[in-house]
């Protein structure tokens, strides 16, 4: 006992000694320096910053009355054809004149031209694909909006396909994504605020919201959390997600990641905020609730009766996915009296030759299933076929004939496997799959009692979770009866008169009352 206390004390002490690491990040020391009126000096400092990188092009030429000028851009990021046609050729036609910066601006036939003041601005513009024109004896440069780079064409998002409804999905290019959003929500009230995150990657991150619907506090909080990020690089939306979550250690996702512009637009219309990251074909939506993870866009593109039925099917299979094998293990090792006699006899019969306890059997099979799924997901398609053949053997008749697992167990594993794919969002599906294993252990050790204990832990965790201040289980806990219209069932369009209160309280009504269609409605207009 003494030694344990001693050990605990020592552990406590060592825990207190926290190494504090100060991240200095990377900041270009010359970034804040103003451009000088000496072109050569400017070029020299740019050259030294880029360190003679081969893809940075310094194009020196002269304009007007032999004023020296230089165009700086990065190969492959800017449209060279357009530069030739709209920048270089008009400038070189106007000879024998002293050109001011305004004159140059008039001459260049490009719509998007910006003045840049500091070295830092110049660097940002160049790396964003905009060529920067520097002119001798001018303290400012001009950035010409002619970016062009290779991008993927717009395709149907494979992870969120629907039968009815739009087929377009986000791509890796932020500009295209915001444009897709803008095409859906044309109001000027759709605001998109962007910033660069990551000291090396300088990734462009855009926050989208609809002014007048979204809570200003929420938007500020989101921008604040994004600005707090100090890191060297942001490569995917997960990098952002994990840095702005409310409960980073929780297994449950607190932001919704979607590839569909229509889903993002629908959330924006409910007062949520979306974060879009350059280089990732998905947007993050916040705040979200547990139930929004079980809503598929398809629910809204089908008739509401079908949508409601499918939603309930999903809730049912959520339960099976989490508890299926654990209930089986608990009942068959502890509570045999709960099984109907005829079923128990069948089970007893099929378990007769099985050498392992039900718990071992369940963990073995579930692990095998997860392994098969993972192998199948990572392999190239040609080899994937082999995996599915092996899978059919492992989880199938062969395993039963080999006497390693019983037939009911194979059924349970197969049903659970299907159930875990019922979640319309992959992130929540994998969370449930992971939680299944501790639940199985608890069921195997303590039976139904353990199952209830595990459920209590999960429930109390879910109840403490918040996504950007919104309780994770709302509107069920805290209960808001009116808002169950999108949880217990998928209310028809003409009944969805109000926005969810926690995100849309600034503009509670989304449509006028009495939208229910019917014969009299049409007659009224006559």
């Amino acid at each position: 006992m003494d030694s344990i206390q001693h050990l605990l004390k020592r552990l406590k002490r060592s825990g207190r000694k926290k190494k504090s690491v100060i991240y200095s990040g990377f900041k270009e020391p010359e970034a804040s320096k103003e451009l000088s009126d000496d072109l050569h000096k400017n070029l020299r400092s740019l050259e030294s910053i880029y360190g003679h990188s081969s893809d940075v092009i310094f194009h020196n030429f002269s304009i007007g009355d032999h004023t020296e000028a230089a165009l700086v851009y990065i190969e492959g990021l800017s449209n060279t054809e357009e530069i030739d046609r709209h920048v270089l050729s008009p400038l070189q036609q106007r000879l024998q004149m002293r050109l001011t910066l305004d004159d140059i601006r008039q001459t260049i036939t490009v719509s998007s031209i910006k003045r840049v003041q500091t070295i830092g601005d110049v660097l940002d513009e160049i790396s964003g694909g905009n060529p920067v024109l520097l002119v001798n004896r001018e303290k400012q440069g001009l950035s010409v909006g002619l970016p062009k780079w290779e991008k993927r064409s717009i395709e149907e998002p494979s992870a969120e396909s629907v039968l009815r409804g739009p087929r377009e999905g986000f791509i890796e290019t932020l500009n295209s994504n915001t444009a897709m959003l803008r095409r859906k929500v044309r109001s000027a009230n759709l605001k998109i605020k962007s910033m660069n995150i990551g000291s090396y990657t300088r990734t462009k991150v855009a926050v989208a919201y609809i002014e007048g619907i979204a809570d200003i506090g929420l938007v500020k909080e989101m921008i604040n959390r994004l600005q707090r990020i100090e890191t060297d690089g942001v490569l995917a939306s997960v990098d952002i997600e994990e840095l702005i979550e409310d409960h980073p250690a929780s297994p449950f996702p607190q932001l919704l990641s979607t590839e569909r512009p229509d889903v993002v637009s629908a959330y924006l219309l409910e007062g949520h905020v979306a974060v879009m990251i350059d280089g990732t074909p998905s947007a993050l939506v916040a705040p979200i609730t547990f139930f929004s993870l079980f809503q598929s866009p398809e629910d809204y593109y089908e008739r509401f009766v079908a949508g409601t039925a499918i939603r309930w099917l999903r809730y049912l299979f959520l339960g099976i996915s989490l508890l299926g094998p654990s209930i089986y293990v608990a009942v068959i090792t502890f509570h045999q009296e709960m099984i109907p006699t005829a079923l128990l006899l069948t089970m007893a019969n099929s378990r007769e030759q099985i050498p392992f306890p039900a718990l071992v059997e369940a963990i073995l099979m579930e692990t095998m299933f997860e392994a098969l799924r993972e192998a199948g997901a990572r392999l190239p398609k040609q080899i994937g076929v082999a995996v599915s053949i092996v899978g059919a053997l492992v989880i199938g008749q062969a395993a039963i004939s080999a006497g390693i697992v019983s037939a009911p167990m194979v059924m349970v594993v197969a049903i659970t496997g299907i159930a875990s794919f019922m979640a319309p969002r992959f992130t929540i599906g994998i969370t449930i799959r992971v939680l299944r294993f501790p639940m199985m252990l608890l069921a195997g050790f303590l039976g139904i009692l353990g199952l209830i204990l595990g459920l209590l832990v999960i429930m109390s965790h879910l109840l403490t979770l918040r996504s950007f201040g919104v309780p994770y289980l709302s509107p069920l806990a805290p209960l808001q009866k009116r808002e169950l219209k999108d949880v217990l069932w998928r209310a028809p369009r003409w009944m969805m008169n109000t926005r969810p209160r926690l995100t849309g309280e600034w503009a509670p009504y989304r449509q006028s009352h009495g939208q229910r269609p019917g014969p009299t409605k049409g007659d009224e207009g006559e």
Binding site: L11, K12, A348, N349, R351
Partner: protein, 393 residues
């Protein structure tokens, strides 16, 4: 990473509680001997003889196809066998039984308990005590008294169901006779009247086909834990009318001045028992309300005529009354066993008087005046007025 070491240690200790204790009360299904039915008999030397019908999964794990007419005991999934042990008490017999069976006895699925007639006559207090105390025994199990020994009944392999236990359970659930569970029996035995009923079974043997199957013979009447008499099927129906337990019934009456008979099928029935105490006169009014449909008419009468319906109703009421009075006569006058919950009816209405006279209930009960008021109404005479086939004559 971010977690403090104390938290890590705490979690580790928490995991130890699971790993070190292990699955101490875990039992796999293939370590269980599942008891399907149990029977208790009294031997000549006054010992209890416990017989259990055990289910053994087929050793290969494969399904055995049941062959018709084959030697009994094989079900679709495995073999059902009967083991018999003797002991001074049921608990002793059970612990002895465990010595004869390699697997752990599992009582949770046992849905049939059979008491042999000899035991029932000697008293079923002792086995009931065990069955109600044992944590594994399902109180929803059905109870029977068998005319033959319980062992003989359990050894029967009925042609329709897989095991005899299954067959007995289905017969009881069929509700043509009494359907008494262990809980109900205990409640009756410990109730105000100390009288109980248990369905009585027998085994029918067909010599020609070598088929044996159990059937309900009547009802055993238990008074103070001992079987004091029995009712045949007809009288049982009468008792069931009073006990408000009739759910399925076909009543057939022959008509005066007519050839042939009429059968009606019970649609619903409700019985109310009302108690009165008037000085020393204790009386009971039994009101039976029954709604029926005509299912067979072999007479020449046309039941679309209201007069005929009324006559028929009176006849049917008379038939029910006759059975009810038979049951009353047997229970009240011959056996003095209050199997109709009359004691509870008095207690509910006159709790003060009941307290004073509860000791004398055995003296009061035979002299309770019972008034039977039967009201039967034919709900649907049917569109077929007379019998089709008699019209042609």
């Amino acid at each position: 990473m971010v977690m403090k070491r104390g938290t890590v240690l705490f979690i580790l200790l928490l995991i130890q509680t699971f790993l070190l204790s292990g699955c101490w009360d875990r039992t796999e299904v293939n370590d269980l001997a599942i008891i399907m039915g149990a029977g208790v008999d009294l031997t000549e030397d006054h010992q209890l003889e416990l017989s259990v019908n055990l289910f053994l999964p087929s050793p290969s794990g494969q399904q055995i196809t049941k062959q018709s007419g084959s030697e009994g005991g094989s079900t679709g999934l495995g073999v059902s066998i009967v083991r018999t042990v003797r002991g001074a008490t049921l608990a002793e017999a059970v612990s002895k039984l465990q010595q004869y069976v390699s697997r752990e006895l599992f009582w949770g699925q046992d849905e049939v308990y059979i008491f042999g007639k000899s035991l029932a006559e000697a008293g079923i207090y002792e086995p009931m005590e065990f069955l109600l105390r044992h944590p594994d025994v399902s109180e929803r199990a059905n109870v029977f008294v068998s005319k033959k020994t319980a062992k003989e009944v359990l050894e029967v392999s009925p042609p329709v169901e897989d095991t005899v236990s299954e067959a007995l359970r289905e017969i009881a659930r069929g509700r043509t006779g009494m359907d008494i569970t262990l809980t109900e029996l205990a409640q009756m035995m410990a109730g105000k009247s100390k009288a109980a009923v248990i369905p009585m079974i027998d085994v029918k043997e067909k010599q020609s086909t070598n088929e044996t199957f159990p059937y309900i013979l009547g009802t055993a009447i238990i008074k103070n834990g001992k079987m004091v008499g029995s009712m045949d099927e007809n009288v049982t129906r009468g008792a069931m009318w009073i006990r408000n337990e009739v759910e399925k019934a076909t009543i057939t009456v022959s008509r005066k001045n007519e050839r042939g008979a009429v059968s009606v099928l019970l649609f619903k029935s409700q019985t109310e028992v009302d108690a009165h105490i008037d000085g020393d006169r204790w009386s009971i009014t039994v009101r039976i309300h029954s709604v029926d449909d005509i299912v067979e008419n072999n007479t020449d009468q046309d039941f679309s005529i209201p007069d005929h319906i009324e006559e028929l109703q009176t006849d049917l009421e008379g038939d029910i009354n006759e059975r009810v009075y038979k049951a009353l006569d047997l229970a009240q006058k011959q056996l003095n066993a209050d199997i109709f919950y009359f004691a509870d009816a008095f207690y509910r209405k006159y709790p003060q008087e009941w307290k004073k006279h509860s000791d004398r209930w055995d003296d009061i009960f035979p002299n309770v005046e019972v008034n039977v008021q039967t009201k039967l109404s034919i709900r649907k005479p049917g569109l077929t007025r007379k019998s089709f086939f008699k019209l042609t004559k």
